[in-house]
């Protein structure tokens, strides 16, 4: 039975030919047993990640109508869906909104998250406690956060406008969610609020890895805090910065919950993103073929960044186990 337990390939050399054969089947059985540990998860991932990816590509070449799920008929229609989507102004608008939303959100989340991470690296009382409680906005379900903000940003009854008017910053209430000109900005602000804790925690973790003596040496050489930040903190933090930005990108570009609960893509489609357009085309218009096209575009964009992410992680895989 020793072949079953020994993980190494080198079997005992002293075996006769019959023992070798037995060892061979035993090893095969071991390999099979080992795969049994992994097989359920693999099957599940094939069904819930692999299948949707393939099916989505197929669907983008099929004609779906509201009756498809009764008749079961979705004939292939070549590039019709792709042509229809790419000539739809809603799609091009959504592409642009998604870009603005993603860049704006990441800039805000990252800058504020980094500032907080640096601040909390100082030693003072309650630092740990405050850092922990700051995570709350990120842990609350996004739809719930959006609903709360919807009330806060309300033009007439919202507390934000009340505060701005009390401070004399605005005359009338700002139509945060009801004007096409500011709704996307409002969505970005809310998303920044949601994303700050995540950025802060990961960047804080990265900051703790930087050896203290580097700063002491720099201080001896007469470097000020800004110089130390630029010459030590930023370069040493680069791998962590890449990871946090790529992960932030992946979760922001596909945004759906927040927008639906905050503005439903409105007013006048001013906050439609690739995520909400996919939802609208598939589940409201019941044209799953066109929804699949937008979904595929979303996947293509994500794939580019997945490659970046794996590159950033490669060092980790090379040295780690």
């Amino acid at each position: 039975m020793s072949t079953v337990t020994a993980p190494s390939v080198s079997a005992p050399a002293a075996g006769a030919s019959s023992a070798d054969a037995r060892g061979g089947t035993g090893r095969r059985r071991t390999a099979l047993l080992r795969w049994l540990f992994i097989a359920p998860a693999l099957l599940y991932m094939a069904a819930f990640f692999g299948y949707p990816l393939v099916r989505n590509v197929l669907m983008s070449f099929q004609h779906y109508t509201p009756t498809t799920y009764f008749t079961g008929e979705a004939p292939f229609n070549g590039l019709d869906n792709w042509r229809a989507v790419f000539s739809d102004p809603l799609f091009t608008d959504a592409l642009w909104h998604t870009a603005l939303f993603t860049v704006g959100s990441l800039l805000g989340q990252f800058t504020l998250g980094l500032a907080l991470a640096v601040f909390f690296s100082r030693r003072f009382r309650l630092s740990r406690f405050v850092r922990a409680v700051l995570l709350l906005p990120w842990l609350v379900p996004m739809v719930v956060a959006a609903v709360v903000w919807r009330r806060i940003l309300d033009q007439e009854h919202g507390v934000l406008n009340a505060a701005l008017q009390a401070l004399g910053l605005t005359d009338g209430g700002v139509p945060w969610l009801s004007s096409p000109d500011v709704a996307l900005l409002a969505a970005v602000l809310v998303n920044i609020w949601i994303g700050i804790p995540f950025n802060m925690v990961i960047l804080y973790g990265g900051l703790q890895e930087i050896p203290r003596d580097l700063y002491e040496a720099a201080a001896l050489d007469g470097a000020g805090p800004w110089r130390a930040f630029r010459s030590i903190t930023l370069p040493m933090l680069r791998p962590v910065i890449t990871v946090v930005l790529v992960l932030g990108f992946m979760s922001t570009v596909k945004i759906l919950d927040l927008i639906l609960a905050l503005t439903s893509g409105g007013p006048a489609d001013a906050t439609q993103t690739l995520g909400t357009v996919t939802y609208q085309m598939s589940f409201l218009r019941l044209d799953f073929g066109q929804g699949a096209v937008v979904g595929n575009v979303l996947i293509l964009i994500s794939a580019v960044f997945a490659v970046l992410y794996l590159r950033a992680n490669r060092a980790d895989f090379g040295t780690g186990k």
Partner: protein
């Protein structure tokens, strides 16, 4: 009071030198930190304050002078069932997720399988597939399998939210379990599976807890699958409930906010009970 000042003294003394200057700066930092906290948590405070005031949430006082629980009663009346649905679905998703992830993570960590690395890479990539894309294709499959509007369907879909994360996190932990521990159990006559259950799982308790907590939170927060894989009100988690609540013309913001408070409770509880696991999960699952 004195003991805590003594405890922080070495830290501040090291950077700012002896004297009271360091302690004063530390106090200012604490004040600044509390201000930051107040600003960033204000929306959640506002949610709570609105829920505690009886005037259906139109004129909300900054500090509730006569707090009442009427809104919570209204919220439980209309959303109580949804809260229970969320709880059941999230627990189910945790069970499915851990049952799949723990053996897989162990296999990937301890057996040098051909293609094991590729599997880990694939797991990392699946984390990045947008949920709406999965929902788009899954709906067709669910319609054929009659899983639309079913608890099982939603539980299975929600488990996908935590699975890649759990596998990566558990594998990172299980790599450090010495092979001898399992082999000792095997010598004692246990087979590989019982050794896994009796030896590996108890040793991985903390990692399992972290993975389970996060999967619970992901499933509890799920909105996309609840929205797309349900066409009736048969299976309606609280995220979907609150969405429909504000979708209609809202007359009772107090009840909406009370629902929001109730659906934020798991997050708050986890933060208090399992703070160190949460920090470990965020950094462990994403960076490593």
């Amino acid at each position: 009071m004195s003991s805590s000042t003594i405890r922080t003294a070495p830290g501040t003394a090291r950077t700012t030198g002896p004297g009271t200057g360091g302690r004063a700066r530390g106090a200012w930092n604490t004040v600044a930190a509390l201000l930051i906290l107040a600003v960033l948590l204000f929306p959640l405070y506002w949610m709570l304050v609105t829920a505690l005031q009886p005037s259906s949430g139109i004129d909300v006082d900054f500090f509730p002078t006569s707090p009442g629980l009427d809104s919570f009663r209204a919220a439980l009346d209309s959303q109580g069932r949804s809260l229970l649905t969320s709880l059941g679905v999230a627990l189910g998703a945790v069970a499915v997720c851990l049952a799949l992830a723990a053996p897989a993570a162990y296999g990937l960590a301890q057996f040098s399988l051909r293609g094991g690395r590729a599997i880990v890479f694939t797991t990392l990539i699946t984390q990045m597939v947008p949920g709406i894309v999965i929902a788009n294709a899954l709906y067709s499959a669910y319609a054929e399998l009659r899983l639309v509007n079913s608890y099982l369907g939603l539980i299975l879909a929600d488990a996908s939210l935590g699975l890649p994360f759990s596998i990566v996190l558990l594998r990172a932990f299980m790599v450090s379990i010495p092979g001898e521990v399992v082999e000792a159990a095997l010598v004692d006559g246990a087979n590989r599976f019982t050794a896994f259950v009796r030896v590996v799982l108890p040793m991985s308790r903390n990692a399992l807890l972290t993975a389970g907590l996060f999967t619970f939170l992901f499933a509890w927060s799920d909105f996309m699958f609840a929205l797309t894989l349900n066409t009736t009100d048969d299976v309606k988690p609280v995220t979907l409930g609150i969405y429909q609540f504000v979708g209609a013309h809202v007359s009772d913001w107090g009840a909406v906010m009370a629902t929001a408070v109730l659906s934020a409770v798991p997050a708050a509880v986890l933060l208090v009970v399992a703070q160190k696991y949460i920090a470990a999960g965020i950094t462990g699952g994403s960076v490593k």
